[in-house]
Protein backbone atom coordinates (compact mmCIF):
# COMPACT_ATOMS: atom_id res chain seq x y z
CA UNK A 1 0.00 0.00 0.00
CA UNK A 2 1.03 3.60 -0.48
CA UNK A 3 1.02 6.40 2.14
CA UNK A 4 1.89 10.06 1.87
CA UNK A 5 4.22 11.65 4.42
CA UNK A 6 4.06 15.40 5.06
CA UNK A 7 7.29 16.63 6.66
CA UNK A 8 6.87 19.64 8.94
CA UNK A 9 9.53 21.90 10.41
CA UNK A 10 13.04 20.51 10.48
CA UNK A 11 11.85 17.07 9.39
CA UNK A 12 11.66 18.39 5.83
CA UNK A 13 15.37 19.16 6.03
CA UNK A 14 16.19 15.76 7.53
CA UNK A 15 14.30 13.98 4.74
CA UNK A 16 15.21 16.36 1.93
CA UNK A 17 11.59 17.08 1.00
CA UNK A 18 8.34 18.22 2.56
CA UNK A 19 6.34 15.48 0.82
CA UNK A 20 7.31 11.81 0.51
CA UNK A 21 5.48 8.78 -0.85
CA UNK A 22 6.18 5.48 0.88
CA UNK A 23 5.26 1.98 -0.27
CA UNK A 24 4.57 -0.20 2.76
CA UNK A 25 3.21 -3.67 3.39
CA UNK A 26 -0.52 -4.02 4.01
CA UNK A 27 -1.17 -3.65 7.74
CA UNK A 28 1.86 -1.45 8.32
CA UNK A 29 1.70 0.95 11.27
CA UNK A 30 2.94 4.47 11.87
CA UNK A 31 6.04 2.97 13.46
CA UNK A 32 6.68 1.00 10.28
CA UNK A 33 6.48 4.23 8.29
CA UNK A 34 8.94 5.90 10.67
CA UNK A 35 11.28 2.91 10.38
CA UNK A 36 11.12 3.11 6.59
CA UNK A 37 11.97 6.81 6.68
CA UNK A 38 14.84 6.15 9.09
CA UNK A 39 16.24 3.56 6.68
CA UNK A 40 16.11 6.05 3.83
CA UNK A 41 17.28 9.23 5.56
CA UNK A 42 20.16 9.09 8.10
CA UNK A 43 19.45 12.60 9.39
CA UNK A 44 15.90 11.51 10.20
CA UNK A 45 17.09 8.25 11.75
CA UNK A 46 19.15 10.18 14.30
CA UNK A 47 16.00 11.98 15.49
CA UNK A 48 13.31 9.38 14.89
CA UNK A 49 12.42 8.90 18.55
CA UNK A 50 11.66 12.61 19.04
CA UNK A 51 9.12 12.71 16.20
CA UNK A 52 5.34 12.32 16.64
CA UNK A 53 2.88 11.66 13.86
CA UNK A 54 -0.48 13.27 13.14
CA UNK A 55 -3.41 12.40 10.93
CA UNK A 56 -5.87 15.14 10.15
CA UNK A 57 -5.72 17.63 13.00
CA UNK A 58 -4.75 15.24 15.79
CA UNK A 59 -1.68 13.46 17.08
CA UNK A 60 -2.11 9.73 16.54
CA UNK A 61 -0.49 6.65 18.06
CA UNK A 62 2.31 5.23 15.90
CA UNK A 63 1.16 1.74 16.82
CA UNK A 64 -2.10 2.10 14.86
CA UNK A 65 -2.31 0.47 11.42
CA UNK A 66 -2.33 2.68 8.35
CA UNK A 67 -4.58 2.41 5.32
CA UNK A 68 -3.71 2.72 1.67
CA UNK A 69 -3.80 6.39 0.72
CA UNK A 70 -3.38 7.70 4.27
CA UNK A 71 -1.65 11.03 4.74
CA UNK A 72 0.41 11.32 7.90
CA UNK A 73 2.32 14.33 9.17
CA UNK A 74 5.72 14.21 10.83
CA UNK A 75 5.73 16.44 13.93
CA UNK A 76 9.35 17.03 15.00
CA UNK A 77 10.17 18.72 18.34
CA UNK A 78 8.24 21.98 18.57
CA UNK A 79 9.51 25.51 19.31
CA UNK A 80 6.48 27.79 19.48
CA UNK A 81 6.57 31.10 21.28
Amino acid sequence: MRVIIECYGASARWCGSDLITLDLSVGATGNDALDALAALYPDFAARRDSVAIATGDAITSPTLPLDDGDVIALIPPVSAG
Partner: protein, 149 residues
Protein backbone atom coordinates in the same frame (compact mmCIF):
# COMPACT_ATOMS: atom_id res chain seq x y z
CA UNK B 1 -18.85 34.95 22.36
CA UNK B 2 -17.06 38.17 21.48
CA UNK B 3 -16.03 38.85 17.88
CA UNK B 4 -12.33 38.43 18.68
CA UNK B 5 -13.01 34.97 20.10
CA UNK B 6 -14.35 33.83 16.74
CA UNK B 7 -11.10 34.65 14.91
CA UNK B 8 -8.47 32.04 14.08
CA UNK B 9 -5.74 32.05 16.72
CA UNK B 10 -3.06 31.34 14.12
CA UNK B 11 -2.37 34.53 12.17
CA UNK B 12 -0.28 35.30 9.09
CA UNK B 13 2.47 37.79 9.91
CA UNK B 14 3.37 39.70 13.05
CA UNK B 15 0.70 40.23 15.71
CA UNK B 16 -0.56 43.66 16.76
CA UNK B 17 -0.95 43.55 20.54
CA UNK B 18 -3.80 46.09 20.53
CA UNK B 19 -5.89 43.79 18.32
CA UNK B 20 -5.95 41.20 21.12
CA UNK B 21 -6.87 43.63 23.89
CA UNK B 22 -10.17 44.91 22.50
CA UNK B 23 -12.41 42.72 24.64
CA UNK B 24 -14.11 44.52 27.50
CA UNK B 25 -12.78 43.65 30.94
CA UNK B 26 -15.37 41.47 32.74
CA UNK B 27 -17.05 43.34 35.60
CA UNK B 28 -15.91 40.72 38.12
CA UNK B 29 -12.25 40.86 36.99
CA UNK B 30 -9.65 42.83 38.90
CA UNK B 31 -6.60 41.72 36.92
CA UNK B 32 -5.42 41.85 33.33
CA UNK B 33 -2.15 39.99 32.64
CA UNK B 34 -0.56 40.11 29.19
CA UNK B 35 2.43 38.28 27.75
CA UNK B 36 3.83 39.02 24.30
CA UNK B 37 6.76 37.13 22.81
CA UNK B 38 8.97 39.06 20.39
CA UNK B 39 11.76 38.18 17.98
CA UNK B 40 15.16 38.73 19.60
CA UNK B 41 18.29 39.78 17.67
CA UNK B 42 20.58 37.20 19.28
CA UNK B 43 20.54 33.47 20.03
CA UNK B 44 23.41 31.61 21.69
CA UNK B 45 25.87 34.24 20.54
CA UNK B 46 24.65 34.31 16.94
CA UNK B 47 23.35 37.57 15.47
CA UNK B 48 19.76 36.99 14.30
CA UNK B 49 18.17 39.05 11.50
CA UNK B 50 14.66 37.58 11.60
CA UNK B 51 12.54 34.51 12.25
CA UNK B 52 10.26 32.30 10.17
CA UNK B 53 7.42 30.58 12.02
CA UNK B 54 6.13 27.36 10.43
CA UNK B 55 3.07 25.44 11.63
CA UNK B 56 0.86 22.43 11.11
CA UNK B 57 -2.07 24.78 10.76
CA UNK B 58 -4.98 22.52 11.60
CA UNK B 59 -3.39 20.93 14.64
CA UNK B 60 -1.87 24.21 15.85
CA UNK B 61 -5.23 25.97 15.69
CA UNK B 62 -6.88 23.11 17.59
CA UNK B 63 -4.14 23.05 20.22
CA UNK B 64 -4.25 26.82 20.81
CA UNK B 65 -8.00 26.63 21.45
CA UNK B 66 -7.54 23.55 23.64
CA UNK B 67 -4.97 25.43 25.73
CA UNK B 68 -7.33 28.39 26.14
CA UNK B 69 -10.08 26.09 27.38
CA UNK B 70 -7.74 24.18 29.69
CA UNK B 71 -6.37 27.38 31.24
CA UNK B 72 -9.86 28.77 31.76
CA UNK B 73 -10.98 25.58 33.50
CA UNK B 74 -7.82 25.28 35.60
CA UNK B 75 -7.44 28.90 36.77
CA UNK B 76 -11.04 30.23 36.50
CA UNK B 77 -9.98 33.14 34.27
CA UNK B 78 -10.73 34.37 30.75
CA UNK B 79 -8.00 33.46 28.24
CA UNK B 80 -7.20 34.58 24.71
CA UNK B 81 -4.12 33.48 22.78
CA UNK B 82 -2.75 34.10 19.29
CA UNK B 83 0.38 32.98 17.45
CA UNK B 84 2.00 34.25 14.27
CA UNK B 85 3.16 32.24 11.27
CA UNK B 86 5.37 33.52 8.47
CA UNK B 87 8.45 35.74 8.45
CA UNK B 88 8.87 38.21 11.32
CA UNK B 89 11.45 40.94 11.83
CA UNK B 90 13.40 41.70 15.00
CA UNK B 91 11.10 43.14 17.65
CA UNK B 92 7.87 41.98 16.07
CA UNK B 93 5.34 40.05 18.16
CA UNK B 94 5.06 36.31 17.55
CA UNK B 95 2.73 35.24 20.38
CA UNK B 96 0.18 36.90 22.65
CA UNK B 97 -1.45 35.64 25.85
CA UNK B 98 -4.21 37.72 27.45
CA UNK B 99 -5.61 36.74 30.84
CA UNK B 100 -8.50 38.47 32.59
CA UNK B 101 -9.25 37.24 36.09
CA UNK B 102 -10.47 38.09 39.54
CA UNK B 103 -7.08 38.67 41.14
CA UNK B 104 -3.44 39.03 40.13
CA UNK B 105 -2.31 35.71 41.59
CA UNK B 106 -4.41 33.52 39.30
CA UNK B 107 -3.88 35.92 36.37
CA UNK B 108 -0.09 35.68 36.62
CA UNK B 109 -0.19 31.93 37.20
CA UNK B 110 -2.52 31.35 34.25
CA UNK B 111 -0.37 33.55 31.99
CA UNK B 112 2.79 31.61 32.88
CA UNK B 113 1.12 28.22 32.47
CA UNK B 114 -0.44 29.21 29.14
CA UNK B 115 2.76 30.40 27.45
CA UNK B 116 4.74 27.47 28.86
CA UNK B 117 2.11 25.06 27.53
CA UNK B 118 2.04 26.72 24.10
CA UNK B 119 5.79 26.15 23.86
CA UNK B 120 5.44 22.42 24.54
CA UNK B 121 2.12 21.45 22.96
CA UNK B 122 1.62 23.48 19.76
CA UNK B 123 3.12 22.30 16.44
CA UNK B 124 4.92 25.49 15.50
CA UNK B 125 8.58 25.68 14.54
CA UNK B 126 10.98 28.62 14.66
CA UNK B 127 13.50 28.92 11.86
CA UNK B 128 16.13 31.52 12.66
CA UNK B 129 17.67 33.71 9.99
CA UNK B 130 21.17 34.86 10.88
CA UNK B 131 22.98 38.01 9.87
CA UNK B 132 25.61 35.92 8.06
CA UNK B 133 22.90 34.46 5.80
CA UNK B 134 22.58 31.06 7.48
CA UNK B 135 19.14 29.65 8.35
CA UNK B 136 18.44 27.04 11.04
CA UNK B 137 15.46 25.45 12.80
CA UNK B 138 15.66 25.63 16.60
CA UNK B 139 15.94 22.30 18.41
CA UNK B 140 12.63 22.39 20.30
CA UNK B 141 11.01 19.77 22.54
CA UNK B 142 8.97 16.66 21.63
CA UNK B 143 5.31 17.68 21.41
CA UNK B 144 3.26 17.01 24.57
CA UNK B 145 -0.48 16.52 25.03
CA UNK B 146 -2.11 19.54 26.72
CA UNK B 147 -3.64 17.37 29.44
CA UNK B 148 -0.18 16.23 30.54
CA UNK B 149 1.03 19.77 31.31
Amino acid sequence: MSAIKSLPRLRNGALNLADWLVEAQPADAGALAVFAGTVRNEHLGNAVSGMSYHAHRGLAEARLREIEAAAEARFKVHVLVAHAVGVLAIGEISVVVVIRGGHRAEAFEACRWTIDTIKQAVPIWKEEHYVDGAVRFLEGVPIQPVESL
